[in-house]
């Protein structure tokens, strides 16, 4: 057997009294794509951060690159010299600079004498690495103007600029997460070219399908321990991987049967969407309606348009409590009409993470529950206790800052916050994004409960399994066509409907 490209043994990390990573092993062979998978909190990002020198490991770890031991904690410059490079999730590109500048950052070709950057030679260096990777962009182009796939390509070119072909190892830390499906294929071809030369790639990804098709072997972490070391992906299925990651089979959330009432909770009429015919939907009280489509085709805009957070060209919503003209009214009017929005980006739009759970829950109710001159504390405490209990939010008390909670619990706070306004129409955007299995089940159950209480729920999501598990019907938005309506419990049917929409002739399996 050849010397492994990278061999990490006995990697442990303890924060305070909590062991995050417990004696993990990771062996990456030359010229392979090796995936590292695990749930949030499984320790995989900690392991990557140890490899990149962000965290120092606990005593007892050994690390070798091409058989040469590296001193610990990792000094990034030493690791770099040994051939390790990294592409982070956000790519770390500066949009207002050129491709050449972005590739050169941290190691510009410069004159010994004056320290001045030799731009001509720098451009040639950039061009060489771009050519080697067959990325068709000009070194003088502005990064901000490139497509998502080319941006990722530039980030990879930067990582590999000093790598001798056939040597080194690149760590891809969820760098493919933001790529649209089409670009993903191009990205995969690029990674194929990288490993063909003999360079190794360590890929951290949540996308199990990607992991299985792309990588030759996979290491699975669960609760800080390696539960599958260097497994050959040839004999694995997504279900196998999921079982390893979770340590149990995942039960689908079964929604209690609710009779959808005749009464209409909300009626959306003539909502103008770019590239789509005007969108209309009627959500009955007690009904959960799913809405999905191809990423980037405009269905993601619907929640914000309905809630008045973004201005629509045309459209109205009529609810039990009122009427909103979406071309004129804003958030306040939408709220008054009983429309509540649970936005996608919880840290940015959803909750104020620097504030306590109680403050966040109370926010949308301040005017309704408090007088102009006084906001009482009694109802806030009751609301907080009730929300914590109902959604099973794990926190020491309502005074905990939201940022001290885990992702799933933050999402529960966000959900409870908007549920507390007693809305007629609850609009949810990707409500189970980046939460673990337990929290997902709790959230889906809470969505079902909200509907059972007589609300209308519009679930806007790109997660087929969520849609089929909780929705009474799913609308698939297709550019230039009327939305397709599905009533199914099979996620694949939803996926097919989404992706068949690309072909306007409609030769589909849906």
């Amino acid at each position: 057997m050849t010397t492994p490209r990278l061999e990490a043994r006995g990697a442990s990390k303890t924060f305070g009294s909590v062991t995050v990573l417990d004696g993990a092993h990771l062996v990456v062979q030359p010229g392979e794509i090796h995936s590292l998978v695990g749930q949030n909190g499984s320790g995989k990002s900690t392991l990557v951060k140890i490899l990149t020198g962000y965290h120092g490991p606990d005593a007892g770890m050994t690390l070798a690159v091409d058989g040469q031991a590296l001193s610990l904690p990792v000094h990034w410059r030493a690791a770099q010299a040994a051939g390790v490079s990294v592409v982070h999730q956000d790519l770390g590109l500066l949009d207002h600079l050129t491709v050449s500048e972005n590739i050169g950052i941290g190691g510009f070709v410069h004159s010994r004498l004056t320290g001045r950057i030799d731009w001509r030679r720098q451009d040639r260096v950039a061009e060489a690495v771009l050519q080697r990777l067959a990325i068709p962009v000009s070194p003088r182009a502005l990064v901000g103007e490139l497509s998502a796939a080319h941006r990722a390509g530039v980030a990879i070119a930067r990582a590999l600029r000093a790598t001798v072909p056939g040597e080194g190892m690149m760590i891809l830390d969820e760098a493919t997460r933001a790529l649209p499906r089409d670009d993903l294929a191009r990205m995969h071809a690029l990674l194929g070219r990288v490993v063909e030369s003999g360079t190794s790639v360590l890929m951290v990804s949540h996308n199990l399908e990607e992991v299985l098709t792309l990588s030759s072997r996979v290491t699975v972490l669960r609760d800080g321990r390696v539960v599958g070391e260097g497994l050959d992906t040839a004999g694995l299925t997504e279900a196998d991987l999921a079982r390893l990651m979770l340590g149990k089979t995942v039960d689908a959330v079964v929604r209690p049967a609710v009779t959808v009432r005749e009464q209409v909770a909300a009626e959306v009429t003539g909502l103008a969407l770019d590239g789509h015919p005007p969108f209309s939907v009627t959500v009955r009280s007690g009904e959960v309606v799913g809405l999905t489509g191809l990423p980037g085709t405009g269905f993601e805009q619907v929640p914000y348009l309905l809630a008045g957070a973004a201005r629509a060209d045309a459209g109205t919503v009529r609810t039990t409590s009122g009427h909103v003209d979406l071309s004129r009214d804003g958030v306040c009017e939408a709220l008054a009409a009983g429309i509540a929005l649970v936005p996608e980006r919880r840290g940015r739009d959803g909750v104020a993470v620097e504030m306590s759970v109680r403050d966040n829950l109370a926010l949308p109710n301040l005017r309704r529950r408090g007088s102009r001159w006084h906001v009482g504390r009694g109802w806030q405490h009751r609301l907080t206790a009730d929300s914590i209990q109902r959604l099973g939010i794990k926190s020491r008390s309502g005074e905990d800052l939201v940022k001290e909670l885990s992702g799933g619990n933050q999402q529960k706070v966000l959900f409870a916050k908007w549920l507390s306004t007693d809305p007629d129409l609850l609009v949810l955007h990707e409500p189970t994004q980046a939460v673990d299995v337990g929290a997902r089940a709790d959230l889906l159950r809470a969505i079902g409960d909200a509907a059972a209480a007589g609300r209308g729920v519009l679930l806007v999501s790109s997660e087929p399994s969520d849609l089929v598990e909780i929705c009474d019907r799913v609308l698939v938005l297709r550019p230039g066509q009327e939305p397709a309506e599905l009533r199914t419990t099979d996620p694949d049917v939803v996926l097919d409907a989404i992706y068949s929409a690309q072909i306007p002739t409609g030769a589909s399996h849906a």
Binding site: V18, N40, S45, V331, G350, M355, A362, L363, L366, D436
Partner: protein, 365 residues
């Protein structure tokens, strides 16, 4: 509970990532990360008790330092520092700074900042004596116009920053310089003064050995603390300052609140100018900018006390009198002039840094 007059300044760790999640004793699914049963109750209470002690230390450390400082000065110069005059010298001399600091505070609470507060104070403190003293205008009308000028300046700031979305650094720095220049123009770059029995009665009449203006300042801080903690307006202001987008999606009229904060800052800065004129009787317009750093220092130092990490009016009050005590004591020890700047500057950086360190440690432990 007073925990709520808070606006967190520390925004470095905005989102909990995977590995921070692990700091929690329990995960989403209610199990410890290594799958064992949750931590024993006994361990948890001891750690909570020490946690409470740490929180308390983080909250009131500055008050402890204040007391130690007082004791030190008393030990060094018992005759002078121990005299009754000390109390009124410290507590009766900071009213202008209190109003000015509160002016800076309300913009900081909503996530903005205003570098022109001192100059707005200056324009009021110049306009009143010029109108009433030089031109012989009715003193009350002069006061209204003087404070009105500061409010107008605040509204202009708001227009540029909120409506036109220009950088608040640029706008308020420019406004501050411009106002200082205008004050010099209308005063002819000299010290202008006015004396009014009426003003004196309202502001420097004494109660329990302290001027009325001290109580106005105290009342202002208490009212602001109440507004921020207990009214929809105040809660909205704090959310606007913490996360503007979250506030907007909750139906808060964010732009209106930001605009109002700048205008309010102008009003309070104008009132501090009025108090300055009333208590001193005159003003040298070129000195206005020297009031800026003490006011900002007090507000930031205030984030180290009562509600650590949050701009809060009570903390600001403590900080103002903490700084005043230090400077007064050092002056009694024979330092003068330069000590003021050194103490304000050093006190600010050291105290805020210490508070952050204590806070971080109490959180991760």
């Amino acid at each position: 509970m007073p925990e709520t007059t808070q606006h967190r300044v520390d925004v470095t760790a905005a989102v909990v990532d995977d590995e921070q999640t692990q700091f929690r004793l329990v995960t989403d699914s209610g199990e410890t990360p290594d799958g064992t049963a949750p931590v024993l109750a006994g361990e948890r209470t001891t750690s909570r008790a020490s946690g409470l002690a740490r929180t308390f230390a983080a909250k009131y450390a500055l008050i402890g330092v204040w007391a130690l400082m007082g004791l030190y000065f008393y030990a060094q110069v018992p005759d002078t520092f121990g005299s009754a005059g000390t109390f009124s010298s410290i507590f009766g001399s900071q009213q202008v700074l209190v109003f000015l600091a509160m002016s800076a505070l309300i913009t900081l609470v909503v996530g903005e900042f205003d570098l022109s507060v001192a100059a707005m104070m200056g324009i009021t403190a110049t306009t009143i004596p010029v109108l009433a003293g030089v031109h012989g205008m009715n003193i009350w009308l002069a006061c209204v116009l003087g404070v009105g000028a500061a409010v107008l300046a605040g509204a202009v700031n708001a227009f540029f920053v909120v409506v036109l979305d220009v950088s608040s650094f640029v706008v308020t720095l420019g406004m501050g310089t411009l106002l200082t220049g205008m004050a010099q123009m209308i005063s002819g770059s000299t010290i202008v003064s006015v004396s009014s029995r009426g003003l004196a009665k309202i502001f420097i009449g004494e109660l329990f050995g302290l001027p009325y203006a001290f109580y106005y300042g105290l009342a202002l801080a208490l009212v602001l603390a109440y507004v921020l903690a207990w009214t929809p307006l105040g809660r909205s202001m704090i959310f606007v300052g913490t996360n503007r987008e979250v506030a907007r999606l909750a139906g808060i009229r964010v732009q209106r609140i930001r605009f109002g904060a700048y205008v309010g800052a102008g009003l309070l800065a104008g009132l501090s100018g009025l108090i300055l004129v009333a208590s001193v009787g005159g003003f040298d317009s070129s000195t206005a900018t020297s009031f800026l750093l003490p006011a900002l220092a007090a507000v930031f130092l205030g984030t180290a006390v009562v509600h650590p990490g949050a701009f809060n009016p009570i903390g600001t009050m403590v900080a103002i009198y903490f700084l005043a005590t230090g400077i007064f004591g050092l002056q009694l020890l024979g330092y003068s002039g330069w000590i003021q700047n050194v103490f304000y500057g050093a006190g600010l950086v050291v105290a805020v840094a210490l508070a952050k360190i204590v806070r971080d440690r109490s959180r991760t432990a």
